[in-house]
């Protein structure tokens, strides 16, 4: 299977573990990720907060590059990237004048169809059953709280993904990997996202609520598929402890890390040793007896 790939800026920096694990998982799945050549930033929440036209034009450049490269499907693992790329497509489709204006600004054609996939769409297209067949180290005994956050599921009419209040697609993947999803209440609550630098206290409060609910429901770790969710839950966890005088040490895994692991990669090759909250220990010995 061959599929286009839009890593996005975070995967080259603070989410290098996400990028590493996707590359490793894809390799073990037998998927060829074709990077959009010379891709640029999608503008994230900065563009849509300050300028509407820009919030469409920045993703549009990448869509145009993907089309020029002949890609009909592109995986955008970062939830903010996939959300912005899809939003641009939906708005351009609904407003041909906007489309023409953006084509002029970008200087490239937007004619054609390219389907933008988030990580879970990608696994779905690949086939959850096919993935399950390739598992060599089932993650038996691992209890994960699947956390979707905001941008994978909202706005529902734009992203058209799963149930916005009670999504289940990540649970299906986790189950296919041999792990056990826990039932909990914060899977679509906001972590504070981009407020992290300017409003750290708000983020600490939101992250604390998420951590506590996952812990109360017996999770060994939270499973995410968004760089900003990971950053807030993992990197900012110690700040939560400092703010509230608590001692959380809850590992935060990217779904792709657990995929790579279950498909046979070492925790290091899956990027799990790069977290701020130690996460290797809990998963290192899982499935070591191997699949029959």
């Amino acid at each position: 299977m061959k599929v286009g790939y839009y890593p996005g800026c975070s995967l080259e920096g603070s989410a290098s573990d996400f990028g590493l694990s996707i590359a490793k998982a894809a390799e073990l799945m037998g998927v060829d990720l074709v990077e959009i050549s010379d891709w640029s930033c999608c503008g994230a929440s900065a563009a849509h907060s300050l300028d509407h036209l820009l919030s469409i034009a920045l993703p549009a450049r990448n869509l145009a590059l993907a089309l020029a490269q002949g890609l009909d499907q592109v995986v955008a693992p970062c939830a903010a990237c996939s959300n912005r790329l899809i939003t641009a497509q939906v708005e351009i489709k609904a407003d041909p004048d906007l489309g023409a204006r953006v084509e002029d600004i970008v200087g490239m054609s937007l004619d054609g169809d390219v389907r933008v996939l988030n990580m879970l769409d990608f696994v779905d297209v690949y086939g959850v059953d096919t993935l399950k067949e390739k598992v060599t180290r089932p993650l038996e005994g691992f209890k994960g709280a699947c956390y979707y956050g905001c941008l994978l599921v909202r706005p529902p009419k734009v992203v058209q993904f799963d149930d916005p209040e009670d999504p289940k697609s990540m649970e299906r993947v986790l189950t296919a990997l041999g792990a056990t999803p826990v039932d909990w209440h914060f899977k679509v609550e906001c972590c504070g996202a981009g407020l992290t630098m300017a409003q750290p206290k708000i983020v600490a409060r939101l992250v604390r609520d998420i951590l506590r609910n996952a812990e109360e429901n017996g999770a060994d770790g939270i499973v995410v598929s968004c760089p900003l969710c990971h950053q807030n839950l993992d990197m900012r966890q110690l700040a939560v402890n400092a703010e509230y005088g608590e001692t959380h040490r809850l590992p935060i895994y990217y779904l792709s890390e657990l995929m790579a692991l279950a498909l046979g990669a070492s925790p290091k090759d899956a990027g799990i040793d790069r977290h701020f909250i130690e996460a290797t220990e809990r998963v290192a010995s899982l499935g070591q007896s191997g699949k029959k």
Partner: protein, 188 residues
């Protein structure tokens, strides 16, 4: 409502409609947006009241509110709105107008500075450099607290999560042109 209210109401409702296609009259004030907003406690005006003030033409109050910058754009409000009114898009529109007119609430200026720094760095390199963003934001925001998040740097570096020199891209100049042109067109 347009028939029974004054000129200011009509003007603001029309301005918002022209800016982003929204009809603020659609809101009937059930308050569900505020009930589900994860950051409502931190706002000076609750989300449903922001919509009400838009209906009432209170332009200065909404554009100068902290609320529009505290909003994390999580989209929970619009997802649950029984009228399917896109309140998250309204927040975007108000942020854009407020920023353009230099009316950002001083207590909430940090978010505006963060977004500006984000776009400045992207304009320069074509991609976002997190180091560049942090440094530029801190310089804009707290010239004397530039070092605040520096304690994270060694941890990021040792984990292979920090690159001091951003990777530029070939298309950086086309990204710069896109940003400059959009800003110019929107400010006309």
């Amino acid at each position: 409502m347009r028939e029974i209210t004054g000129r200011a109401c009509r003007d603001l409702a029309r301005e918002i409609h022209e800016h982003s296609g929204l009809q603020v009259e659609e809101c009937y004030q059930c308050g569900k947006c505020t009930a589900g907003c994860p950051v409502a406690d931190e706002m000076d005006i609750p989300p449903n009241v922001v919509v009400r003030l838009c209906q009432l033409g209170q332009r200065d109050r909404v554009l100068g509110s902290k609320t529009i910058w505290v909003c994390a754009a999580c989209q929970t409000c619009m997802t649950r709105c029984p009228q399917e009114f896109d309140i998250a898009k309204l927040m975007d529109a108000l942020r854009q107008i407020s920023h353009r007119e230099g009316r950002v609430n001083p207590e909430a200026a940090g978010m505006a500075h963060f977004y500006e720094a984000f776009l400045d760095v992207t304009r320069r390199f074509g991609r976002l450099s997190e180091v560049g963003l942090t440094a530029l934001y801190k310089m804009k925001r707290f010239p004397n607290e530039v070092m605040n998040d520096v304690f994270l740097a060694p941890g990021l570096m040792s984990r292979g999560k920090l690159h001091l020199v951003p990777k530029g891209i070939k298309g950086a100049s086309s990204v710069r042109k896109i940003i400059d042109r959009c800003m110019k067109e929107s400010h006309r």
